[in-house]
Point group: D2
Chain length 349, copies 4
């Protein structure tokens, strides 16, 4: 950690800063410059917070030199992690192709969509039983009945399932039905919920918050990891932007940033990032090209009747066309779409 002192710092303030650093069990290395005095703090900076040092009178700025996350960092785990979702691998060259409707719909529709995306090559099926809706008057999801149906449909079509949890009191129920638990963007810093899913033994799909930095995202992953659950897959789904031509601002570079800092797999969600069906295929390709470990796409066979987020859903035949392109790109990148359990590897590629 580096402490930069104010120009007009007095000798007694300086002594006080040095004293505080030593009280915290660290060593201070003083360096008086022409214009500024700085202190290099030597020792394990992760034991203390920059915050308490920043509040000492005479201190201008405190700059940590290590990332504040440990378990999520590449230092702790130099090899890329591979997360196993009931037999489907994510990371280390294996791609997740997660697809399905936004919300769990009626049974026939669910089976139709599942069949279509599985045929196209999807390897994990999605659907929301609990929906975070901006309006209290909008459809809020089918709850546990939705979970049962999702499980049944996933099993029928041979795909593991992922679904969102919003309430810490529902984590146990969701864990019972799902192969992977999703934390949505609005809950990325719901630390109570992160702690709760960290106590399960199911892989977690953690979506980036709309105004979260990459560091914030990795800190939220750290919450889960620090509870003993090592299976976290990150997801870039667009951040808040000023141009309303897209729903969010798809931060594709964040995937490459994460690859440099962390061992955790990261996928992209061009459905939420763009909010427009025409933009989803090119943005999905961009995600794989930049190095993502998979793509999450909302697919619906009749968007105008969708219970949620219809306008951004891709039609099944458009999804199938996109999957052909994604497979070609995956091969070019030396990666492959992870087979589902029972499926032979070579068959997918």
């Amino acid at each position: 950690m580096i402490i930069i002192l104010q120009n007009e710092v007095s000798e007694s303030q300086l002594s006080h800063v040095l004293e505080r650093v030593e009280q915290l069990g660290l060593k201070a290395h003083l360096s008086r410059g022409t214009f500024r005095t700085i202190i290099g703090v030597i020792g394990d900076e992760q034991k203390i917070s920059a915050e308490s040092l920043r509040a000492i009178p005479g201190v201008l700025e405190v700059m940590p030199v290590l990332p504040p996350y440990k378990l999520a960092s590449k230092d702790a785990h130099p090899q890329p992690s591979v997360v196993n979702v009931s037999g489907v691998k994510i990371g280390g060259g294996y791609l997740a192709m997660i697809a399905g409707p936004c919300a769990v719909e009626e049974p026939e529709r669910m089976h139709n969509i599942a069949k279509a995306v599985r045929t196209a090559g999807a390897n994990i099926f999605r659907g929301g039983a609990y929906k975070p809706r901006t309006s209290p008057y909008a459809f809020q999801g089918h709850g546990e009945d939705g979970l049962k149906l999702l499980r049944e449909v996933g099993d029928a079509h041979g795909m593991p399932i992922v679904t969102e949890v919003m309430d810490p009191r529902c984590v146990e129920t969701v864990e019972r039905y799902a192969d992977m638990i999703q934390i949505g963007a609005r809950n990325m810093q719901n630390f109570v919920l992160l702690t709760e899913v960290g106590r399960t033994r199911k892989p977690v799909l953690l979506k980036r918050g709309m105004s979260a930095t990459v560091e914030d995202l990795l800190m939220s992953a750290e919450y889960i990891l620090s509870q003993g659950n090592p299976d976290v897959v990150l997801c870039e789904r667009g951040v808040k932007g000023f141009d309303k031509v897209t729903r969010n601002l798809y931060d594709v570079a964040s995937v490459a940033v994460v690859k440099g800092l962390s061992h955790l797999p990261i996928i992209v969600d061009p459905s939420h990032a763009t909010g427009k069906p025409a933009l989803i295929p090119p943005c999905a390709l961009a995600g794989i090209a930049v190095g993502a470990d998979g793509v999450h796409i909302e697919v619906h066979d009749c968007p105008e009747k969708a219970l949620s987020d219809g306008p951004q859903a891709l039609l099944p035949h458009k999804y199938a066309e996109l999957m052909v392109q994604l497979k070609g790109l995956a091969a070019l990148m030396g990666k492959e779409i992870s087979p589902v359990p029972g499926e032979k590897l070579a068959a997918t590629v």
Copy 2:
């Protein structure tokens, strides 16, 4: 609601759109322009969602003309609401002056800070017993013991208390101790939590999320109001910005925007908005000048030993100086700092 059709819309697509509008119980008013065809939808648009219309083939855009919130809107309640927090009024000319440490600290410190802010004119005491921390390794708050102490200190110094709740399972406990329940910025769209505090009978302080629009904020208030709790006070605390010279970007104009759209009181939090003690007093004054119904400020007598957010805390004597200015400004604006129960009105001003 206005539906704008795509340039190349076919007659059969157009018929389908008109049919769907009528199925939804609304009337369609067609208007064929030189370049575009538009449909005015007549009827109660709040009964349907723009979303499902937007997903119909041939539709380019759907523009709602009414706000999606009802109970929070001025249409529903043209007069400004006055929220009563155990005798302290907020809104309608009465200002809340909320002050206290970020986290609940040790008893002696709590009493000292409470005494100082009360003497300066604060009318509600704050302190966090449950703290949302970015790092799982940081201090997370004292929990119920913290609530007890906060209650005791508030009572000793004659101020109602406000404290944050993060976990829906803790709402009942917090309700037992606090006069006002705070929903933090990171939980502004934690709809489960909003629903839960909407079921209590305690006033709620709802902080704006870091990337929430004013409409998002009012929709979150709507969640609480729609559960039957009419006592919501909004709080502008800065949104995410690109200039790291301040912690957040203080959106002071949002206060004036809210005043035009809603009857709910709104206060400002310059501590979180700026993150720097030197900027808090001028930004607090700006908040009252723009029309806010109060100011929320973190005060600590020894910021370097604060359990949380020390660097942005104001020292008690700085707070007292600021309060003198705030009282002068309030008088100029024809408002007054709400007295605490038992205190005579004229004495405050």
Copy 3:
């Protein structure tokens, strides 16, 4: 255009609005809804400005339904434009690979870099003779001497050249030397300069401003096109973001948005978008995958001695490695890197 009236609009205000619309030579189509009255304006809305209608008392909002640009729009020119830069084609399946140092450097270095990037497959050489620098004390470029050298180096290695102009008084000089004229991000809304380059007969590389929407970018292109210069190539180079882990926020989806709205070619600049060498290759690949018509990259053989922007320059061998991947991806997308004049097409791919 759609005019939405305020709830409380009076009959005399309504008459006044209708009168104004007719004075402007348009027809008004009134539609009284349950809660709002709207007016559909029929006629050529591009003849009038939404602005003057918005200022009429009683008007709540005016929504244009056509884009404000004409020449840049797909309606005016449904086929993708192909811009020819002294023999190198951009658009319609041909990719530009623009490379070179940020600033024009000393002759030997310029020849070395040019040779390296040409060997790797670059087809346009870049270098700044006039540099927009945030600091008045930083190196501002070699001026006309720089232009001469750039011309000489481009000719020696068989590549057309592109260079930035900042001053309307220098446009004539730059036009004399360059094959393509660049307008930098900071000058995207320097309308005087746009008008001036619109009067030249050289293709223009127009970079997106840091806070420009896609519509703003297309309006700036319209300035150039409306002066009679049809050869505009757009460039996405990152917008201002809140996460300082990258220099800017690479808005890769904007490429797909532009493809839906305009016939103009658009390339990407991952050097400025990310500011970090390690992120440039994956982000360049993402750009081609999303559909861009080329990639602009800064290359330097000794970044620590670069006269400008050293830290974000790619080393020549890294550029060569990237070009191998870009060629593979281009082939997969059914595109090819445009040959330089004299070079046979098949040889590039």
Copy 4:
């Protein structure tokens, strides 16, 4: 300056970094931490650029500890500057009240508006003769004829005038007519134009760019100051935001930030910041409350016939009402609206 080395830096890389620092005439102070090695660079860091150090292999980050501007900084000039615009003082307790239409209009209207704002207490008259318009098809201003009229109207009503310049070739003409030259937000980083106005002897009103940090703004001021023109007044006019409920995001805290870093006066422009007449008065008050040295407001007597930006203009009687409030607030803050030449001081307040 502080250089942070990469974890895996080799001894030869380290030697190379130390060598480079010494070649640049500075001293290196090495500090080996437990996890990182850092180098404190001692000497005048403003002589070198962080950029060239950042490009050296083995360097992770370079952190300047001094601001990159000198003449604009408080270190160079600890007392607040007072800028004199033909007798009207700005800064040091004197407030500028700049008002007038967006564009120069027809003579009768100009006289009416000038009379109204002068009567209300405005001390500088504004109007654009050259207008930066997003669309090439919109009204671009009356040019030199507009300047003549503005001069005449200013003289007739006893107010100095300010007007925008966009083209370096027009600076001489504008200088001949105007008392103060405005650089608009879109030209804040038009370094050619900044240099040109820096060579005049007229005060400059420099508006903050839509995505400029406070440091960027001060660097642009430095361009002007470094040419020998000491009279720069900054202007906060809103930055790009994600909530379209206001035209821009009014960054009122930036005024307080500037006051801490620089001696230059800074005013606010709530017209452009908010774009909505109803928000202008509260935001003007917030600007003075936060410490601004004046307010810039667009006033028009018939907004629907304004040649530019009608919807955001304030009506003269609304301006007069606001000025009463602003005078009261100024007095409370211990400031006064600067009298115009010939006017007695006491009369204003």
